[in-house]
Amino acid sequence: MRPRRPKTALMTAAVAAVALAASTAFATDGQVSLNAHDLALLNRVTWGQSASAAEDLQKLGARAWLDRQLRAQAGDRLPPAAQAQVDALPVSKTPMPELVVQLNAQIQAANKLTDPDQKKLAQQAYQQAMTDLGKQAATRELLRDLYSPDQLQEQMTWFWLNHFNVHMYKRDVRAMIGDYEDQAIRPRALGKFRDLLEATLKHPAMLRYLDNDQNANGHINENYAREIMELHTLGVGSGYSQRDVQELARILTGVGVDVNPDPPKLKAAYQPLLVRSGLFEFNPNRHDFGDKVFLGHTIKGSGFGEVEQALDIIAREPATAHHVSAQMAAYFMGDDPPPALVDRMAKAFQRSDGDIAATLRVLFTSREFDASLGKAFKDPMHYTVSAVRFAYDGRVILNTTPMQNWLNRMSEGLYNHETPDGFSAASASWNGPGQMAVRFEIARQIGSGSAGLFKLDQPQAKDQPAFPQLQNALYYKAGLDQTLAPTTKSALGQAGSPQDWNTLFLSSPEFMRR
C-alpha cells in the first residue's frame, strides 16, 4: 500500500491524474485546505465531501457558498461526462405522458394475445420496459447526487421525494417516477412548500400510488386524503379528526389520472370545470359538489377550486410549519433536533409563506446545527453516495446499477419504499447489528476495486480499470486524516493491502457519520 504522507505533502500522483482527466468543472490547483468546521459543514450540506466540492467552498468562503447552495438552479450543471449520460436516457428524452400511453398500449396489446406463451413473453417485455424506466430515473438521480455542484438542491430533491413518497412498483408508477422527481419535485425543492404540495397532488404518480384516481362521488376512497394531513402536512396528532379526513376525501373526488387523449364526455354545465394537464385530470362528473366543512372552514362545492382552498388552509396551518420543519431538521441533524431550533424554523416557514430555502437558512446558520456537525449517522443513501463521491471525485462512473443494488440490499432502495411514510431519518432505523454487518460487506465491495461501476450496463461490456482513490487530496491535504480517532488510525495501520485499507476506512466510525 501507499506510504502515509504528512499533511503538507503535494498531491499524490494518482490524484493529480484524476484532476487532469476531469472536466473544467473540476479544474483544480490542488490546494485544498479547509478548517474542521468548514469540512464538516461541507460533509453535511452535500451528499458527502469530495476534493472538488471542498475547492468550491474554499473559493467562495463558507457564507457565500451556502448562499449559492440555497439558490435553486434550473437544469443540470453536471460535468460533461455525466451530463451526456443523463441526456442519453430515454426517460430524459421522452415526455412522461407519451411513455405512459405507449406502455399502456403495449400491455393492452399483450393481454389480447391468444397464444399463452406469446402472451406471457409480451407481458414480461412490458414489465421489463417499466422496470428499465425506473432504473433510468434512479441513474439520473444518482449521477446528479454524485456530480452536481448544486448539492443542496439534490439533497432536498431526495428529501421531498421521500417526504411525498410513492412506491414505483405500484401499477404503472415506474413509467411516471422519473418525471415526478424531475418535474414535480426537483424544480421546487428549495421553493415554496405550497407549490410543491400542489405539484405532487397533480402528479399521476401520487394519484395512482395513494388511489385517489379511484376516489369518486359515491365511491369514496380516503387513502390520499388521510396521508396528505398525516404525513405530508399537518402531522399525526395535530388535531384533525376522522371527519376532516372524510371531508378532504370528498373535496378530492374526481382528482385523477386519464391516459385517454380525448376529454371525458361532460354535460355543458360541467365543461368549464374540467381541468386537464398532461395525464392529470379533474373530472367534474366524478366530483362531489356538496359543501364541505374542513378543519373548521366551510368550503362551497365548486370543483377543483375546492382543492386549491383546502391546500391553502393546510399549508398555512402552524402544525404544517412545525411538522415540515421538524422533518427537515431531523434529516440534516439526525436524532432529536432541539425543539427551540425547530420552533425558530417553523416561525421562518410561516413568515416566509412556506419558503423552504428561508427555513433551511435558519437551520444552517444556527448554533445548534454547528454543534451537531459530524454527529449524524448516515442512512444507506448518504452512506453509498458519499462513499462513491469520495472514491471517484472527478471521474464519472459509467454504471449506477451496483449502487442501486447496494441501496436495495440496505433496504433503502430508490423509489422502493412500499408505504407512504417514506424512509426513516432516525439512526436507530439503520444501525442495528444486522445492518452494520451488511454495511461492512458493501464497504468491502466499494473499497476492493471498480465494483462494476465502470462497466457499461450492456451485454459484453468490458470493465474499465478503476480503483477507489481514498487516500486523496482531501484525506491528506484538507486534514481529514487529522479527524480520525487513534483506534481508527491503528486499525488502518494494520491493513495488509490497499483493498483492506479502503474497506476499513469506509467501515470506520468516522465515515459512518456526517
Binding site: D211, G218, E222, R226, E230, V236, P433, L504
Partner: protein
C-alpha cells in the same frame, strides 16, 4: 448455544413464586419460544376470521364477502364455530392446526386507546407497548423490555431494520433471513473493524452483527445442503419462516418478524384474489415454521400474530376496505389451548360497530399479550408492569 429448556431460571428479585391465575409459577423463565408476527398494513381481519353467522356481514360486503361454509364449494369459508369461519386460503395450513386445537383467535383485539387510524402511528403504539397518553419513549419497545425482564432471553428480529419493539436495552441482533449470502468480510478484517468500534456506542451492535452473521450463514448453509438433496425450495415468507424455525429451534427464543402488503384499499378480492394470495403465503409460512421447529419444540412454542388495526366493516367504493379499528389476533402453538375464539365478543350487527364504521376493541393488545406473558413466563404483576406499564393483564388462559 443450547437453551436450558424446562429449566426454570429465577431472577433474584422474583424468588418468591407469584400467584397467577390460580396457579403457582416460578418466575420468570424462558423455556418457551415466542415469535411475534406483525402484519403491517392492517389486514382485513373480517375477511379472514369471518363472521359468517352475521347477515349484516353479507349486506356490508356485497362484492368482498366469502360465502358460508359449504363442503362442496372450495371457495366457501371453513367453519370455526356457529358464528365464525376461516378464509379458504388457509385450508391446508392454519385450519389443520385449528382442528388440532393449536390455534386460538381473539376477535375485537387491538390498540383500544389509539383511534388515529394511522398505520404508522398505531404500529408504533403497539411496538412500544406504552400507554397512549403522555409522551412516547421511542427508545423502549415492549419486546426489549420483556427481554430484559426474563432471565436467559435470546432475542432476535428477523427483519432488515431493527424494529421499534426491540429498541432499548442491549444490542439486539436483526437479520433479514430471506437474503443471506456468504460473508465477504473475512475474520481478520472483521476483527480490525471491531477494534475501530471498541468503546464506541455502536461497538456492541457491530460485535453482535458479526456473530449473528456467522451463525445465520452456518444455519442456512446446512439448509442448502438439504435442498440439494431434492427438497423443494420455498419462496417469500415461507422461506423466511422456515429459516426462522431452524434458528429458533437451535439458537433463539424470542423472535419478531413482520410481513407487509395488507393495506387493501382497492381490489382486495374475496375467496380468490389479492388478499387470498397474501393469506396463502402467510399460512404456508406459519405452518412451515411449525414444521421446522419440530413436534417436540412446537409444544413449547407460542406464535402471536398481530396487526395495527382492522379495516372498515363495509367495503368501500373500490372493492377494498379503508382503515378501521378492532382486528383479530392469532395465538398458535403446540401447547396453546386453541380451537376456540377467545376474549370478549359482541354480536356483529350494525349497532355494535365502533363509530358505525369498524370493529370495536374489546381486548386491548397490552392486556392480551401481558396476560399471555403472565402464563408463559410466570411474570408477576410487577414484572408485567415493566413490560406493559399501566396496563391490566387479562388472562384468557391461552396456554
Amino acid at each position: 448455544m443450547t437453551l436450558h429448556r424446562r429449566h426454570l431460571l429465577t431472577l433474584a428479585a422474583a424468588t418468591a413464586p407469584a400467584l397467577v391465575a390460580g396457579g403457582v409459577w416460578a418466575a420468570p423463565q424462558t423455556s418457551t419460544r415466542l415469535l411475534v408476527v406483525f402484519l403491517r398494513g392492517a389486514y382485513d381481519a373480517a375477511n379472514v376470521v369471518i363472521p359468517t353467522g352475521s347477515d349484516f356481514y353479507y349486506q356490508a360486503r356485497p362484492t368482498l364477502h366469502i360465502v358460508k361454509p359449504d363442503p362442496a364449494n372450495p371457495d366457501a369459508a371453513l367453519p370455526l364455530d356457529a358464528d365464525w369461519s376461516l378464509h379458504p386460503a388457509l385450508k391446508d395450513t392454519i385450519y389443520p392446526l385449528w382442528k388440532a386445537g393449536q390455534v386460538a383467535f381473539v376477535p375485537f383485539a387491538g390498540a383500544g386507546d389509539d383511534l388515529s387510524r394511522s398505520h404508522f402511528e398505531t404500529q408504533d403504539t403497539i411496538e412500544l407497548g406504552q400507554a397512549v397518553q403522555g409522551s412516547r419513549n421511542y427508545g423502549s419497545g415492549f419486546m426489549s423490555r420483556l427481554s430484559m425482564t426474563l432471565n436467559g432471553a435470546e432475542p432476535i428480529a428477523f427483519t432488515d431494520q431493527l424494529p421499534l419493539t426491540f429498541r432499548g436495552g442491549k444490542a439486539i441482533p436483526n437479520v433479514a433471513v430471506g437474503a443471506v449470502g456468504k460473508p465477504g468480510v473475512d475474520d481478520h478484517l472483521a476483527g480490525l473493524i471491531q477494534q475501530m468500534y471498541q468503546g464506541q456506542p455502536l461497538g456492541p451492535a457491530v460485535a453482535e452483527g458479526f456473530q449473528v452473521r456467522n451463525q445465520v450463514y452456518q444455519s442456512i448453509s446446512q439448509e442448502m445442503v438439504a435442498a440439494n438433496r431434492g427438497a423443494v425450495s420455498p419462496k417469500g415468507f415461507e422461506l423466511s419462516a422456515r429459516r426462522i424455525g431452524r434458528l429458533m429451534k437451535a439458537n433463539y427464543n424470542l423472535g419478531f418478524v413482520d410481513i407487509g402488503g395488507w393495506d387493501t384499499h382497492v381490489n382486495e378480492g374475496a375467496a380468490q384474489g389479492y388478499l387470498a394470495g397474501r393469506l396463502g403465503e402467510l399460512g404456508r409460512g406459519l405452518a412451515g415454521f411449525a414444521d421446522e421447529i419440530g413436534p417436540d419444540a412446537w409444544k413449547d412454542t407460542v406464535v402471536v400474530v398481530v396487526s395495527e388495526f382492522g379495516r372498515t366493516f363495509r367495503e368501500n367504493g373500490d372493492r377494498g376496505t379503508d382503515h378501521g379499528h378492532g382486528s383479530v389476533y392469532w395465538v398458535l402453538g403446540g401447547g396453546v389451548k386453541g380451537g376456540r375464539l377467545a376474549g370478549e365478543q359482541v354480536q356483529v350487527v350494525e349497532t355494535t360497530l365502533n363509530q358505525n364504521r369498524d370493529y370495536a376493541v374489546l381486548t386491548d393488545y397490552r392486556s392480551l399479550i401481558g396476560g399471555l406473558f403472565g402464563r408463559i413466563y410466570g411474570l408477576n404483576q410487577n414484572q408485567l408492569g415493566q413490560v406493559f406499564p399501566g396496563a391490566a393483564p387479562k388472562d384468557l388462559q391461552l396456554v
